[in-house]
Every structure is written in structure tokens, then in C-alpha cells.
Symmetry: none
DNA sequence: CGGTAAGCGAGACGGTACGTCCCGTCTTCCT
DNA sequence: AGGAAGACGGGACGTACCGTCTCGCTTACCG
């Protein structure tokens, strides 16, 4: 019934991911079609449908391959500096072609629960977990308040980034990251 | 060239908005089609194309009509309480059919700059301005730190809500609003 | 539900029939595709599907237009001569591109009852009726035996032609028509 | 290059013919596919392609196996009776599933010259030859006119049967065979 | 009598065409 | 002139099969 992964053609797989990525850059995520990917990759449509459930799933794989470890969190011992470095890297990525691709996938995910789950599990979860761990370590070391609701904290920090990213309310640069971090660390209260 | 608005049929306009809204609820934003709206509304397709540039523009109008003033900010004199009330109302709305419709529009807006502008100008901007004004008033009254970067503050607060909303990372309830507000008001730092 | 024939585009209809006919000549009936016809005619596929149930129905219309009245029976007063003239004309037609097209339609009709009915009603029946009438007139005039089973007689005469035509058992020429007519008129018996 | 017949799997061969025949009965000749036969027979597609040039060739083999000697001509000394018996048997066969299968093959043969040749050589020719021989014997014995064009005579008789069979112009029963034979033996002329 | 080459089941592959859905434009006829 | 209706050229969908191919496996022959 379902295909045998050991017989999968690596060559086709790579041609598909690379064609999908190129097309997304050229046309924008929404204008990419399965037919277009197949034609560009020199592949039959069925070969795509055999291994991916939708064009968005192909693009997700292409995005994962392209992002790699470029926005991993590093631990220098200074929580604020670590967050600033990583959030700036993320903000930078959001401004590239990869960012447009990612935004397109989040858009698709609004009407595709399977895709939503995939995005969360494979893209979001590991990075969220890394930041959460860093915050917990900071709390253990006394830099961060010990009673912190870690999940809410992560979403507070990155929510601001995603807000600018998806609602395009303004430039997504290092200054914005600094302003966000400053506020989040010290609070709004007088 | 462009149509004369004074001759526009109010009856058709309302039938279209109502059909669009019903279809969005039944099928999800992504599965709504212009043909479907026209058929449901008993209207020619051209009548839709004459007055709206895209199906998303129709849905945006339908959404605006449905939201009305249900999430307006009120001023009780207590900034934290006012924010809590409004954010809880927004969070509640995000969980309804209207929320799904709104998410669908934000999704479409990722690949439709005109729509993105419309959403920002007509839905987002007035509410953002109201919150910003409230924060400025709080600063003047001493509840809020006087050097506040108001824009960043608004996006910090609402970013967390939109993050949960669009990335579906967990329940969007009063507890989450409380946790977010608590953090944002007092800061992460120990 | 079903389309309104008064709004049908005559131009598209003719382009479709002519493209279908040309393709059938170039490739053979079996290799004609709806997509090919649409492309050649500069027409959307849906325009074909709107008006015809299958590619064979298109080809049948094309064939009808091309055959016209070229094989109508004429009445000279001599039954044998009239039959010889008409059967020779039919035999001649069977040897042309139109013959190949007709054979292809009969082939398709083996697995398409609707097409079979159309072929019988619009192509076969009028010509069979004309021959039957001629035989009845011949019987009235004393040239043909008066107790003739007219239907069986028509099928005896044309059966031989269709046998050669569809089973390709030998040349379908005037000699064969003569041999068949000679036999049928006088009988096999010593 | 070409496969070695001594190593051919008899079991697979029979499974293929039997699957092909069953599918033709269930779906009709036109809807049978090589993939379907392979799946039903529990056989790889290549095993079919190795031994037959097309699905029609498989079905032809299946048909030959199923027909066997059921419509052989017998010689009682009375030509008219022998023809009547054999033609009635053929007419009966044409009305069965085997008849539909045969019609499907003749249909395919309209666009497949190799198949046409196979059908003629292996199905048609032996039976035609038998009838021709019987007519020649009848001529020698004085029952049949001595100057008979034997080929035309065979095609006259069987042409009528095939006409009804392929053009479905009416019931193919003993009465029709009788009417045809009566006409052919005595002639149309008054 | 053990190696090897063939046939075999299985099914992935590059392709073509299917019949359907919807797009945005257009034309027609009605109010 | 606006609107209901819907035909039109077009593009993409997801599916079904085509005929070729590449895998392991089993099986029979042959050195």
C-alpha cells in the first residue's frame, strides 16, 4: 500500500527539493505548483505524490534542508547575550527568501492541520526547547527569576518576532530585537 | 471605467458578505471560492469582481462586519486590568469561527500585499493605536515606566497572543493571558 | 445544470470538429485525445466536455460533417445497378481516411453503448432505411422476390462489406462488390 | 535478448490468462489493464510484458483457450444443414461473455495491425477455411453451384452474422441465421 | 554440486491523459 | 448601467496506467 522507502530514488528526492526551493524563491510559495516542481525536477508527478502529502510538505522539507543549524542557540554563560544573538539570527533569517518560504508554510498550515503539526514538531519544537532549557539554566544560575513560567516567556520573546514577521508591522532588525529583549527582561511597570 | 458606487445593489452586497461568511465557517477560508460565494448568494460572479479585488477582500469585509466593536478597549483607570480585559476578549475571539476566518486572512495576506495592507489598516491599526494610547496614558499617570517603547510593548503583549493563535502552540485562554501580562509587566530578570 | 445551447460558440464548435478530424487523420482514431483536440483547436478542455460526452462523440460529429451526402442512394429504376453504385461508393469510402475514422468509432462503440446508439441512429439507420425502401420498391416492381425479408437482405449485402472492412480479409473494391451482389442476387444453390 | 521459453513459468502463464479472462468478463475488454491483470494474477508486470506484446494479445490467448473446438464445423453430407448448425453455434457464442471479449479484440485490432493479423490467422482463418472446404465439397457433390466464388460466399454468410454482432442491429438468434441462409442460398432475385 | 544467470514478484520511476474545479474575462439578456 | 447567468480559454489538481527499470529471491543448468 504505502511505498517502500528503501527503494526511494535519492536522486529524484534531491531534484524535487531543490526544484521546489528554487521555484519558491522565484515565484513565491503560493504560486508553486506540484506540476511545476515535477517539470523543473524532471520527475513524474506521482513520484512527488508518492512521498509527500502536499506541495507544502515538499517545501517544508526543502526549508529544513536549507535552514540547517544556522540559527542554533549558543551558550556563552550570559543569558541576555545568548538570547540576543539567537533572536537576531532568527530575525535576520526572517528577512531572507527562506523567511518568505517559512511564512508561506505557516500560512498554508492555517488550513492544513497535518502540515501545522509537522511545522511545529520539526521546525519549532527543537528551537523552542533549546531556548526554554537556556532560560531554566539561567534561573538555576540566578540570572533569571526562579519562578519563571518558561513556556510563556519563550512565547513572549518570540511572539514579538513572529508578530513583526507575519503581520509585517515594521522592520525586523537588531534594534527591534534589542527593544523587545530589554522590555521583556525588565518589564513594563514603572 | 470603474463602477459607480451610487448604483451598487445593497441587497447583493449583503447577500455576498453573508454567503462568504457562511461558507468560510462551513468549509474553512481556504476552501471558499468566488464561484461558491456567487452561487450561494444568488449573484453573478461579475458582481463580485466588480466590487472586490479578490475573495480575501470579500472575506475581510465579512469579518469586519461580524467583529464590530466586540473587542474594543475600555478605560477603567487600571492599565493592567484594562489590558487583561481586552486581551482576554481577543483571545476568546481567536478561538471562535471568526478567529479561524481571521487566521485564514492573515495566511492569504502572506502572498497578497494589498490584502496585507488592508488587514493592517482596517483591522489591526485602530486596535493597536488604542492600546498604545492606553499605555501612554498609563505612563503619564505613573503606572507605566515613562521611557517605554510603546510600539515594542504593544507587539510584545499581542505577539504572544498571535504566536499561540497562528502557531497553535497551546490553549489560548485567560490563564495564558495572565501569565503573559504578568511576565511582561514585571520582566524576566531575577 | 446542463448548458444552454443558444449560447454555444459556433466558432469553438467548428474549431473542435476540425481539429478532431485532422488529428484522427494524422494519428489514427485511437491516438486522438481530448487534450490534443483542445490544444489544436485553441479551446479549453471544459468546452469539449460541456458539449460532448466523450472523444468518440466529437469524432462522430466530425465524421458526420465530412461524409455529408456523398454515399446517398440514387434510384435509376434498375435495383441491381442502384445497389452496385451505392455499395461501390461505400466500399470506396471505407478505403479512405474517413473509413479509418469510421472503423475507429465502431471499435469504440464496442465498449460504449451510448456511442453505439448514436452511430446506429445517425449514421447507419438512414442509409439502411434507404436501401430497404429501394428493395421494397423493387419487389413491388417485380425485380425482387415479393416475400423478401428486407432487413435480412440489407444486412446480407452490407454485412459482406463490413466484414471486409472491419476484419480486413481482402481488398474492398468494385470486383468484390460485384461478386457479393452477384451471389446475393442469384443465390449459392446449384 | 528475447526470453527463453523453456524456462517460462507455466503457473504464471495460466494465472495471467485466467485473470485476464475474469477481468474481461467483469469489466469489459476496454477496462482491462495490464496492471490489473498482474495484480489479479499475483504476478509482476514484467512477466506479462516479457511474453505478450499488449494486453490484447493476452486476451486473445485467453479467448483461444476458452473457445476451443466449440464451434467446429461438422460434415453430415447436407451442406445447408452443416452451415446452419455451425452458424447457429457461432451466433450463440457471439451472445455470451466470450462474444463480448471477441468484439473487444476486433475493436482493438482496428488500431493494432499486429493484433489484427493474429486474430485473422489464429481465430478466423481456420474456421473460414473449414467453411470454404465444405462449400467446395458441396459444389463437387452438386449441391452448390460449381462456379462459386467461395471466398465471397463465406464472407456473404458470415458477414451478416458479424454485422449483427458488431453493429448490434438486432437479435442474433437461430431465426436470423435461418433468414440469412435462406436468402443466401436462393438469392434475392424474383 | 556449487556458481551463475535466467525468470520471477514487486513496485518505483518518467511520463501522458484523464475528468474536474476554479480562475478571471467575456457576452447576452433582463430590469 | 448594474446585475444574474453562465460560456469561454486556461491552468492545476490528484488519479490511473503506460512501458521501463531495478531490486532481491528462487530455481534450473552447466562447468
Amino acid at each position: 500500500m504505502s511505498p517502500n522507502p528503501t527503494r526511494r530514488s535519492l536522486q529524484s528526492q534531491q531534484a524535487i527539493l531543490s526544484a521546489a526551493y528554487d521555484l519558491a524563491r522565484e515565484l513565491g510559495t503560493a504560486k508553486v505548483t506540484i506540476e511545476g516542481i515535477a517539470a523543473r525536477a524532471g520527475v513524474g508527478k506521482q513520484t512527488i505524490y508518492r512521498w509527500w502529502p502536499s506541495k507544502a510538505a515538499v517545501l517544508l522539507d526543502a526549508l529544513k534542508a536549507a535552514v540547517g543549524g544556522s540559527i542554533d542557540l549558543t551558550d556563552t554563560g550570559d543569558v541576555a547575550a545568548d538570547l540576543r544573538a539567537q533572536m537576531t539570527a532568527v530575525a535576520g533569517l526572517f528577512g531572507t527568501d527562506l523567511g518568505r518560504l517559512y511564512a508561506g508554510l505557516i500560512a498554508e498550515a492555517q488550513s492544513d492541520p497535518d502540515l501545522a503539526r509537522s511545522v511545529k514538531e520539526t521546525l519549532l519544537a527543537p528551537r523552542v526547547a533549546a531556548v526554554a532549557d537556556r532560560l531554566r539554566k539561567g534561573a538555576a544560575e540566578g540570572e533569571i527569576r526562579p519562578d519563571l513560567n518558561v513556556t510563556a516567556a519563550v512565547e513572549l520573546l518570540y511572539g514579538a518576532l513572529y508578530y513583526r514577521f507575519l503581520l509585517q508591522s515594521g522592520p525586523l532588525d537588531a534594534d527591534y530585537v534589542d527593544a523587545t529583549l530589554d522590555l521583556a527582561l525588565t518589564g513594563l511597570r514603572a
